[in-house]
Symmetry: C2
Subunit: 458 residues, 2 copies
């Protein structure tokens, strides 16, 4: 009877536990979690601010009793792991509330400790009330509470968390400004020529958008009042009123416990795992936001930090921990999507910047079209950009538009994962009906400029 101990009840850890049980009903599963809740959707948190998701607890798929009574999982909440002994195969735990300590033995250990928000060194951003990060259910509760009395908010960082939080603060009725250090919005996901559509959409909804702009200081007394920003090019400064400051400036992994156990970190300083999600230490697996994994395109390790990858890694850990056999694909595509007001944006594979850093010069094709046939009313703008190498291997894509974006990026993800070439994509037999999509979907049309460019190079 295998005993699987899992540290962290996020998407990765909980999925690992459920799949261990699904694979071998007789195994013992213990999940240890610092937070007072079992798994909830971290990605759903921004939507609790605006009450699009009306109750915080909606984000929780199962209550603690379900784990005990139905899943037969020993769930230890508000408990942290203080030590791990990979030779004795034990972890020491401490209940945060009661202080009670315990030593738990394991046959297999899964480290799914996740990550926490990075705190950039902005002057005055450390000691004031009204500054928030958005990572935990408690964070979301605090922001929702503060937003009820607030009129203005400044969001620092236009990554996924930043833009989603900004949207929901607008929906809540606040006047919102967003500040991004890099020259365009959501820079880890889409290139500037795609992000311009997102910027337009934000402005259409009354947001102020400051790109290529540094947040220099958070001003105020005990409580935040303003944010001082500076345009990185013109050096022009401005003070933005802020009852709330929300910082979305990336994350850092929790790796203390892993390092105590002698688990090796990779080049990115996240936990290194193989396709079976094994670390370098026997019987210790790792999954989710605390891990790095090879990028499908560049082959280089990346801190992937995505819910989809977390659950896939969790599944792999859970199956393998009880003697099953599961493997991650050799690389992660980083298929990513979000929606800001009415516009959807998605990507798979590296951005142009990321290509450049990896020393890859992709051939680029881009078109702007409609989601429906021209003659059918209600078609919506969609822009797609695709990357290929000179042999026609598809290296990535970005899509921004008002409908169908998420499933279209899945088509490219499937094409990439199965090695479809840009030449095959040109002839992909997509579906067509007047009310659905055109005979030549933008997915296939975008292959043409790439193929032309490749031909010209030869």
């Amino acid at each position: 009877m295998t005993k699987v101990v899992i540290v962290g009840a996020g998407a990765a850890g909980t999925t690992a536990g459920l799949w261990a049980k699904k694979t071998d009903r007789k195994c013992d599963v213990v999940i240890i979690n610092r937070e007072p809740y079992p798994e909830y959707s971290r990605c759903g948190l921004p939507y609790t601010i605006s009450k699009v998701i009306p109750e915080f607890l909606n984000l929780m798929e199962h209550d603690p009793a379900w784990y005990e009574n139905f899943a037969k999982i020993d769930l230890r909440l508000e408990t942290e792991v203080t030590d791990v002994d990979p030779k004795a195969k034990t972890v020491k735990t401490k209940n945060i509330k009661t202080g009670k300590e315990e030593t738990i033995n394991y046959d297999k250990l899964v480290i799914a400790t996740g990550s926490h928000p990075a705190a950039p060194p902005i002057e005055g951003a450390q000691e004031k009330k009204g500054i928030y990060f958005l990572r935990t259910l408690q964070d979301a509760m605090d922001i929702e509470d503060a937003a009820q009395k607030a009129k203005t908010a400044v969001v620092i960082g236009a990554g996924l968390i930043g833009v989603e939080a900004a949207e929901n603060l607008v929906e809540k009725g606040l006047k919102v400004a967003i500040v991004e250090f890099l020259p365009s919005l959501v820079p880890l996901m889409i290139d500037p020529d795609m992000a311009e559509l997102v910027e337009e959409e934000m402005k259409k909804h009354g947001m102020e958008v400051y790109t290529n702009t540094a947040a220099k200081a958070v001003l105020g007394g005990e409580k935040v009042e303003k944010v001082l920003i500076e345009n990185r090019e013109t050096k022009e400064t401005k003070e933005l009123p802020a009852d709330i400051v929300l910082i979305g400036a990336g994350v850092r992994p929790y790796t203390d416990m892993a390092q105590k156990a002698g688990v090796e970190l990779g080049t990115t300083k996240y936990i290194k795992v193989n396709e079976k999600c094994e670390t370098n230490i026997p019987d210790i697996y790792s999954a989710g936001d605390c891990t790095e994994y090879p990028d499908f395109v560049t082959g280089e390790a990346v801190p992937q930090g995505m819910g989809t990858i977390a659950v896939r890694m969790g599944k792999v850990c859970g199956i393998n921990a009880v003697g099953g056999e599961a493997k991650m694909p050799p690389g992660v595509l980083l298929t990513r999507i979000t929606k800001i007001f009415d516009i959807h944006l998605a990507a798979v594979g590296p951005t142009l910047n990321q290509f450049e850093r990896a020393g890859i010069k992709p051939v680029v094709g881009k078109i702007t079209g409609s989601s429906k046939p021209e003659y059918f009313p209600g078609g919506k703008l969609i822009r797609i950009k695709i990357f290929s190498n000179e042999e026609g291997k598809i290296l990535g894509a970005q899509i921004v538009g008002y409908e169908d974006v998420h499933q279209k990026i899945n088509v490219i993800a499937a094409a990439m994962q199965s090695g479809m070439s840009i030449y095959e994509l040109e002839w992909l037999e997509t579906c067509y009906a007047p009310a659905s999509c055109p005979t030549w979907d933008v997915l296939t049309l975008v292959a043409e400029p790439v193929i032309k460019k490749i031909a010209r190079k030869k």
Copy 2:
């Protein structure tokens, strides 16, 4: 200077002409068409009945002057080909209105003559007013006109044309009954367990649905009044009131001209072509609804009859006719989609019936889920069914649901066309965001039951 003569200005023929010009600007292109219009969207016709597409001419992408002035294509409307001489490489044409005859020489001939509705031998269905087929713009105009004065309609045949026409007659305000000979709706596209959702949707919108039912006779005097139907199992009969009878009982190819030229028909009695869309006669190509093509899964020739395939074949003909090089994929997936009221239905590959006829016993997986994460409001029902062989090769899929159906079927189409296995599909890295789709899309979840069944067989 190559002279390309194209017979038929439908999607296949017109696409051939435009791609010939795109490939070699100096070539001569003549398009000969029996109808008084250049290319229009045949698939859009049903939507003109309800005025969802407000003007008939919206369906026409370009007017005749565009072909002459911009595309530099010699468009001969209301003209039929009366003879073809493949040795002399000439066609004889006759203007339908003026009777003027002409002989036109060609270097390359493209036969894109399309198909016409089948007229099933229903008693009384030949000589009465009020009986319609829906194939041409003129048909749509006639139906729209008749529907203005009509209160009731009976649609015979629940294929794509039948159900789309039925929906639009309902939207127009008519009381509509649909009669299908086979046991379930849209039987060439989806299996009965998927079609039940479509039947519910139709009934919810006030339609009467009669499956497994024969239309025995059209009753009335000079004009239709009723349709006599008989349940094929119970033999129960009923008379349905009908100011309009619309027959959608399949199509037959126009092959007279091809046969005159010595062009070989295939096993289905449609025109046989190879991957380059060449017929057996040198310098004669064929494309679109008059052709058959090997099915991707069974390898057997099928009359494909789809707009997507027509334009792809047209592109191949056009490029090859002027000395370029293009090839169809070796088989057609028959990726198909439509929408009835609020429900969308899609398929790729054979139905269970079609598998059975081809002697294939697929492993079947089916799940019903939601388009969005459980915790996010507004997720909509989606049912997906997938077919694999015992080696895990994906053989087809059907999807019915209230959103995302068309692009999800495209994901499976991409997976099939690139040879992705059901094992790879299980791990496909789809995108995830609360407002878009769950961490495990139904696209990936549906692989699990198939994999379990395959494992059990081993």
